[in-house]
């Protein structure tokens, strides 16, 4: 076997120009695939971060309260009892927060914004302040200072609100200024409340376009809710990957505690109003989801991005594979007499096959490793450079202002293994042809 490796390496080195060209093509496709996957991973990381900050915990225990069969209010009543069950029954629990849920119109000096209103009880949320990245004044105000104004922890104050940059721009407000929240209450009347902007945070993509964060007590006031009512419990786990398992476990615990549960649907709560409103029941039903369900529309976008990435890489890979097949056929043709000599000396067909597969595999391994490292370095460089997304719509999909890139070593290794395997497979046909050559025919060949 060792001599086959030696022959393979030396043949690759001897045909330097061809090896360099083919390696370059394979490496380029690898680097491109790594870049696409790094962007996908970057978006996915942003998705998790923004989703679990603005829309959901790892597991969400929410629900609908129906005072009459035709009404559906996104509330959890008997909140203290629900929280107790969650605290006692959640495996791998990190912490639980209660978030109020509202929807309405925010009015500022420059215009209006339709948005959700998330009620925050800061005492419940140990990571709230550190999770939000506050924006400098220059990011939302022309001629603004390169200075962060405001303080996210002031959300504890009654009437406090935190906006995101895109909202602050549209409302034309700054920290310390007032906005008004206008909404329809649960009894069908319109109510308003004046709020003070205590901080302005950097956008977190699409989700931050319709999320204003405010003091929970203010939300209770405007919707006339009692203290034992909340919008949803967001359950955070030590390991987010256990969310599905924990959700199923909590369904059992809550049912055993006497709560009515809705069937699980992998959609955010606001997709369910119409269906729940049409159902013939009254009272409270709890609805358990995981973070992915609450941002399923974004997950689908990410899935489409991934499919497009894989498609683009596959097309390139097919082109490169055809190039490899063609090149390997040429190599076999050039070395036919050498194959004949080796067959005459006594090498078996299987070893001839292996010789050419080893050569292609070594070429593939070298090219994909270099390509993957170049791609990873490029991805980390782009991420570190914080290159701004060129168009607004792109920011929505990227869930960030800059192009996010994240390199996962396991994905990197997988790319190298898969593309090396593709290179080897592409060489299989020419290698099999070489192995099938009869020695007498191969020896009589003139290149």
């Amino acid at each position: 076997m060792g001599v086959l490796f030696l022959i393979a390496i030396r043949n690759l080195v001897q045909a330097r120009r061809r090896t360099a060209l083919l390696s370059g093509a394979i490496g380029l496709v690898t680097a491109l695939l790594v870049l696409l996957l790094a962007m996908s991973q970057g978006i996915a990381d942003n998705l998790v971060r923004s989703a679990t900050t603005l829309s959901a915990g790892h597991v969400v225990v929410a629900g609908f309260y129906k005072p009459s069969p035709s009404q559906a209010i996104p509330l959890v009543t008997d909140a203290a009892k629900v929280r107790k069950v969650l605290e006692e029954s959640t495996p791998d629990l990190d912490f639980i927060i209660a978030r109020g849920r509202g929807w309405g119109k925010f009015v500022g000096p420059g215009g209006t914004v339709q948005s959700g209103f998330g009620g925050v009880t800061i005492a419940d949320e140990p990571r709230f302040v550190s999770t939000l990245q506050l924006a400098m004044q220059s990011e939302y105000k022309d001629g603004g200072k390169e200075e962060i104004l405001g303080d996210a922890s002031r959300i504890a104050e009654p009437g406090a609100a935190i906006l995101f940059v895109n909202q602050a721009k549209r409302l034309e407000v700054d920290v310390g200024e007032a906005i008004t929240f206008v909404t329809e209450t649960n009894d069908g009347r319109t109510n308003t409340i004046d709020l003070t902007v205590v901080a302005i945070a950097r956008d977190m993509g699409m989700l931050s376009s319709w999320a204003v964060l405010g003091n929970m007590d203010s939300l209770r006031t405007v919707y006339k809710l009692n203290d034992d009512t909340t919008g949803a419990f967001w359950v955070y786990l030590k390991d987010i990957d256990r969310a599905d398992e924990v959700m199923n476990s909590l369904r059992v615990s809550l049912a055993q505690a006497g709560f009515q549960l809705m069937d699980h649907q992998g959609d955010p709560f606001f997709f369910k109003f119409e269906e729940v409103g049409g159902e013939d029941w009254t009272g409270q039903k709890l609805d358990l989801t995981i973070w992915r369900d609450e941002v399923s529309f974004l997950v689908r976008i990410l899935d489409v991005f991934n499919v497009v990435s894989v498609f683009v890489a596959s097309v390139l890979l097919v082109i490169v594979a055809i190039g490899i097949i063609n090149t390997m056929f040429n190599i076999v043709r050039e070395r036919t007499r050498e194959i004949g000599t080796m067959r005459a000396i006594g090498i078996h067909r299987r070893r001839v096959l292996m010789l050419f597969l080893i050569e292609a595999t070594m070429l593939g391994l070298f090219a994909t490793t270099v390509g993957a490292l170049v791609g990873a370095a490029g991805a980390l460089g782009i991420d570190a450079a914080e290159i701004p997304a060129p168009i607004e719509a792109m920011k929505m999909i990227l869930l960030a202002d800059t192009i996010p890139m994240a390199v996962d070593p396991v994905t990197l290794a997988l790319v190298v293994v898969v593309l090396t395997a593709v290179t080897a497979l592409a060489a299989l046909w020419p290698a099999a042809l070489a192995a099938r050559l009869r020695p007498i025919v191969a020896l009589g060949h003139t290149a």
């Binding site: 001599v3 007499r337 050498e338 000599t341 000396i345 067909r349």
Partner: protein, 225 residues
């Protein structure tokens, strides 16, 4: 007593479009162990076809070929390859060395394919062969760094390194100048005399024929004397 090589009424036809061409016709040859046999004749007479039959690289259309007691007609590729690896050594007109391996590695190659000797034994055997063909100093040189005569010496060492029963040489001096060609034939003859190795070689060079202990003349695919 039967020979180490027995060709009995061997015929070989090659297809040529819708027709077929007979390369050798009812050839019967018996070659004994330790002979230094030249198969001679003009170009296209069938010498190489006969060597290919003996070397298990081709099978006859009719007739039988027996190598060291094994009838090769019905053997599959795997068995024929094993036979070539363990019982037959090849020397080619164009040397046919593996260009990316040096002299030592070219000689070692058949031993590695056999996989029977330890590393130490293999090294000793290769060095012994290098010494026999006078190329100890050139062991690390690749074929393109060697002269034609040196390359053919490497090819001879490679053919002999596995201790084969038969060494086949197809026009071994055709690509060499007269002096080098004579030296190569002398080397083969010495190995034949001193070690009892059976050599069968094709040639149309009268000087080479003179060195053979037995001459098989071929013309138009038939043995003529």
């Amino acid at each position: 007593m039967s020979g180490i090589v027995e060709l009995t009424k061997v015929t070989k036809d090659y297809p040529l479009g819708k027709l077929s061409v007979r390369a050798i016709d009812a050839v019967s040859i018996s070659i004994g162990k330790g002979e230094f046999t030249a198969i001679a004749g003009p170009s296209g007479s069938g010498k190489t076809t006969i060597l290919n039959m003996i070397g298990c690289m081709d099978v006859p259309t009719t007739g039988t070929v027996s190598i060291d007691g094994t009838i090769t007609n019905n053997l599959y590729d795997h068995a024929l390859t094993e036979l070539r690896l363990n019982r037959i050594g090849f020397i080619f007109q164009s040397f046919n060395l593996i260009n990316v391996l040096d002299a030592y590695q070219n000689i070692e190659f058949p031993l590695l394919l056999q996989g029977t000797l330890s590393g130490k034994a293999r090294k000793a055997r290769v060095n012994e062969m290098l010494e026999k063909v006078g190329l100890t100093k050139q062991s690390g040189q690749r074929p393109n760094e060697l002269s034609g005569g040196q390359r053919q010496r490497v090819a001879i060492a490679r053919a002999l390194v596995t201790n084969p029963a038969i060494v086949l040489a197809d026009e071994p001096t055709a690509n060499l100048d007269s002096t080098t060609g004579t030296a190569i034939v002398e080397l083969m003859r010495d190995l034949n005399k001193n070690e009892g190795i059976t050599f069968i070689f094709s040639t149309h060079d009268p000087k080479v024929m003179d060195r053979a202990t037995r001459l098989v003349m071929v013309a138009d695919g038939r043995v003529v004397e």
